[in-house]
C-alpha cells in the first residue's frame, strides 16, 4: 500500500545525511526515545510507565551505561493526541536519531507510530499488554497477550463461579478482540457467554447496563473496561449492591491502579491475571522495589503491569545492545532474535524469536484491600495467539497486525 521505493529512497538519503551530519563518537550518549501520554485522558497509564523508563535509564547509567556510553532519555508527552504521536515519532527518528523508541499505550497509538518508525528504520518497543497479533520485524512487544492471561483466567473463574459469563468491554481494538478471546475460551471450557456489551472510553453512566446484567443473571461478569471514566462502572456496580451477588474477573482492572482508587468494599474479590504484581516473590523484585521506592519515594502507590512492561522492555533492549555490541538497528534485532532472556522482577522474561513477543510468567491474583493476593502462578507462558499467525523467522518481511479468526 505504501510506496516502498520512495521511503527507502528517503531513508537511504537520511542514513547518508546522518553519517555525515553526526559521526558517532564513542563518547557521546546513546539516545533512547520515549513516547507516552503524560497528560490527557490516558496519563493514568502513561505516568507510571514514564517513571519506570526514567528509573531504568538512571539504573543503567549508574551501572556505567551501555557499551561504555551513557544513555540519554528523550521523553515526549504525546498528550493523548494521535497527531502528536506521529509528529514526535518523526522527531525522535529524524531529529534526535534515537537508537530505539519505547512507548505507545493504546493500540491506536501503536498503529500510528509503527509505520512511521518502520519508514525511518528505527527500532520500536511496545511495552503494553495488548490484544496480540502484531507481526513486524522492526518491533518488539513485551506486554502479555490474551493467550497468556485470558486463557488462564477464564477457566479459573469458571471453575470457581460457574459457566455463564457476561462480558463488558471498552469499545476499541483491545476490548473488541479481548472479548472475542474470552468468548472463545469460555466456549472451549464448555461455558456460555450471555452477552458482550461495548462502551466507548468516555461513558460514565452504566445504570441501564447494570440492570441488563441483573436480568441476564450471569455466574460472573468479565470486565475489559479501560480508562478513567470506566471506573464509575465498578462504583455504580457496588452501589447497586451487585458486587455481593455477582463476582467479577478482568484483565484490565488494576492496570490503571483501579484497586487503589476504589474502596476495598467496592473492589475486593475481583480476579485478575497479569505478568507482574508488586507481591511477586523473588529476590530480583525485592531489590527492584527497594531501589524504585528509594528513587520515587516510599509512598509510591504501585508499580503497574505497564510500568513493569516498560522496565523489562528497556532491559531486554539493553541486553540486545550488549550482545550485538552495537546500537545498530539490524544488529540489535538479530541479537534479540537469538532469544535473549533476562531475570526481571516478574521472573524470567525471554524474547520469542518468531513473534518478537515475550515468554514470561503470569499470575492470577485477587484484589484484597487495595493490594493483590497471588492465587496461582503459570510459569513461562508463550504468546500462542500471535504465534498462530506470525513467524518472522520464516517470513521476515511480514508487517501487519493480524486479527485472529476463530
Amino acid at each position: 500500500m505504501i510506496n516502498r521505493r520512495q521511503f527507502l529512497g528517503t531513508a537511504a538519503a537520511l542514513a547518508g545525511a546522518s553519517a555525515i551530519a553526526a559521526p558517532a563518537f564513542a563518547a557521546d550518549p546513546i539516545k533512547v526515545g520515549s513516547l507516552l501520554d503524560l497528560s490527557g485522558g490516558l496519563d493514568i497509564y502513561g505516568k507510571p510507565m514514564a517513571d519506570a523508563m526514567t528509573f531504568a535509564v538512571e539504573e543503567a547509567n549508574a551501572a556505567g551505561g551501555l557499551l561504555g556510553r551513557q544513555i540519554k532519555l528523550i521523553s515526549y508527552d504525546t498528550q493523548s493526541s494521535m497527531q502528536l504521536y506521529t509528529q514526535f515519532a518523526q522527531q525522535a527518528a529524524l531529529k534526535d536519531r534515537v537508537a530505539v523508541v519505547h512507548g505507545g499505550i493504546t493500540s491506536a497509538s501503536r498503529e500510528v507510530i509503527r509505520p512511521v518508525l518502520d519508514k525511518f528504520k528505527t527500532l520500536y518497543f511496545y511495552n503494553t499488554q495488548y490484544e496480540g497479533g502484531v507481526c513486524d520485524r522492526d518491533q518488539f512487544d513485551t506486554g502479555v497477550t490474551p493467550a497468556q492471561t485470558v486463557e488462564k483466567l477464564v477457566p479459573y473463574a469458571m471453575k470457581k463461579w460457574g459457566k455463564k459469563v457476561y462480558v463488558i468491554a471498552a469499545d476499541y481494538n483491545y476490548g473488541q478482540i479481548t472479548s472475542q478471546w474470552v468468548k472463545k475460551y469460555t466456549i472451549d471450557n464448555g461455558g456460555k457467554v450471555l452477552s458482550i456489551d461495548f462502551f466507548p472510553l468516555d461513558v460514565t453512566n452504566f445504570s441501564s447496563t447494570i440492570s441488563k446484567i441483573q436480568e441476564a443473571k450471569p455466574d460472573f461478569v468479565w470486565s475489559a473496561l479501560v480508562g478513567g471514566a470506566h471506573i464509575s462502572f465498578y462504583r455504580q456496580w457496588a452501589a447497586a449492591g451487585m458486587n455481593k451477588s455477582i463476582p467479577m474477573a478482568s484483565t484490565t482492572f488494576g492496570v490503571g491502579n483501579e484497586q487503589i482508587v476504589l474502596s476495598p468494599e467496592e473492589a475486593n474479590g475481583m480476579l485478575v491475571c497479569y505478568n507482574y504484581f508488586e507481591s511477586v516473590k523473588n529476590p530480583v523484585n525485592t531489590a527492584f522495589l527497594a531501589a524504585f521506592h528509594k528513587r520515587f519515594g516510599a509512598d509510591y502507590p504501585n508499580v503497574t503491569e505497564l510500568a513493569m512492561g516498560t522496565y523489562q522492555g528497556f532491559k531486554l533492549w539493553a541486553d540486545g545492545v550488549r550482545k550485538a555490541n552495537s546500537v545498530d538497528r539490524m544488529k540489535v534485532i538479530e541479537a534479540l532474535e537469538t532469544g535473549i532472556s533476562i531475570d526481571a522482577p516478574s521472573g524470567t522474561v525471554t524474547i520469542d524469536p518468531p513473534t518478537h513477543h515475550c515468554i514470561l510468567d503470569v499470575h492470577i491474583a485477587e484484589v484484597k484491600d487495595k493490594k493483590f493476593d497471588l492465587l496461582q502462578d503459570f510459569p513461562q507462558q508463550k504468546p500462542l495467539d500471535t504465534a498462530a499467525v506470525c513467524n518472522l523467522i520464516k517470513n521476515p518481511n511480514d508487517n501487519q497486525q493480524y486479527v485472529i479468526k476463530f
Binding site: 461513558v203 460514565t204 440492570s211 462504583r235 452501589a239
Partner: protein, 288 residues
Amino acid sequence: MDLIALLAIQVLYAIASLALISVGLAIIFGMMKVINLAHGEFLMLGGYAAIQANRLGLSIWIAMLVVAPVVVGVIGVIVERAIIRWLYGRMVDTMLATWGLSLFLVGLTTAIFGNTTAGLSAPLGSFEIGRYRMSVYTLFVIGIAIVVLGGLLAVLRFSRLGLIARGTMQNANMAAGLGVNPNRVYSITFGAGAALTGLAGGVLAPVSGVFPTIGAAYVAKCFITVIGGGASIVTGTMTASTLFGAVNQVATYVTTPVFGEVALLAAAIVLIRVLPQGITGRFFRRSL
C-alpha cells in the same frame, strides 16, 4: 412489572440528573444571557471539592451538600468579577472566554489532582425491586433535584431577591429601577448559578467519579438542555430535561449508551430547529 418500575426510576433518574446539572447554567443564561462553557468544569470542581472535604474527614453529606456548593459558588463570584463582567453584551466573546476558562481549569486540576479518577463510594446501600437491585442513592439524587428546583421556584416567586431576579430577566435597567445595582445582581446570580452547579457536581461525584476532563462529558448536554428549555429558568430546565432525559434513557436501554447520547443530541437539534427560542419561548411564556 418490576422491570417497568425499574425503568421508570431510571428514566426519572436520568431526568433528575440532567435537570440538576443544567439548572445552574439555566440561571446564568436566563438572567444574564451568558453561556458559560466552563460549566462542565464547575461541576468537576464541585466533585473535587466534595471528595477533598470528605478526605479531610468531613461527613460525605456535609462535603456534598455544603462544601461543594460553597467552594464553587465562591469560585463563580471570582470568575464573574475577573472575566464575565468585562464582556457583558458580547455573548459570543463570553462564550469563548469561558471556553478558555474551561481549558484552564482542566489543566489546573490535572496539575493538582492528576488524571486518576477520584471518587466517593455512594452511601445508602441498595434495595430490591422484584428481581432487581438498585442503589438507594439513585432515589436520593431524584429527591435532591426536586428540592433544588422547588426551592428555586419558591425563591423566584416569593422572595425580594426573586422579584429583582425576574425584573432583571425582563430588562437589566429594571433592577436599577428597583434601586439595586445590576452589577451586584449579576455577581450574585452568577455565584448562585455556580453554587448550584457545584452542588450538582458534589452529588454526582459518587455516581460517575471525578477526573479533570469529565466536564466535557457534561457541558454539551447542559448547554443543549438550557437552550432547548428557553428563557424561563425552572420551567425551561424541567421541560427540556424531561424531554431529553427520557429520550436518552429509553434509547440507552433499548440500544447502547452511545446511541442514547446520539438520540439526545439529535432530539436537541430538531427541537432547536422547530422552536429556536426553546420550549418556553413558545409555551408557558409567563412561567419562571
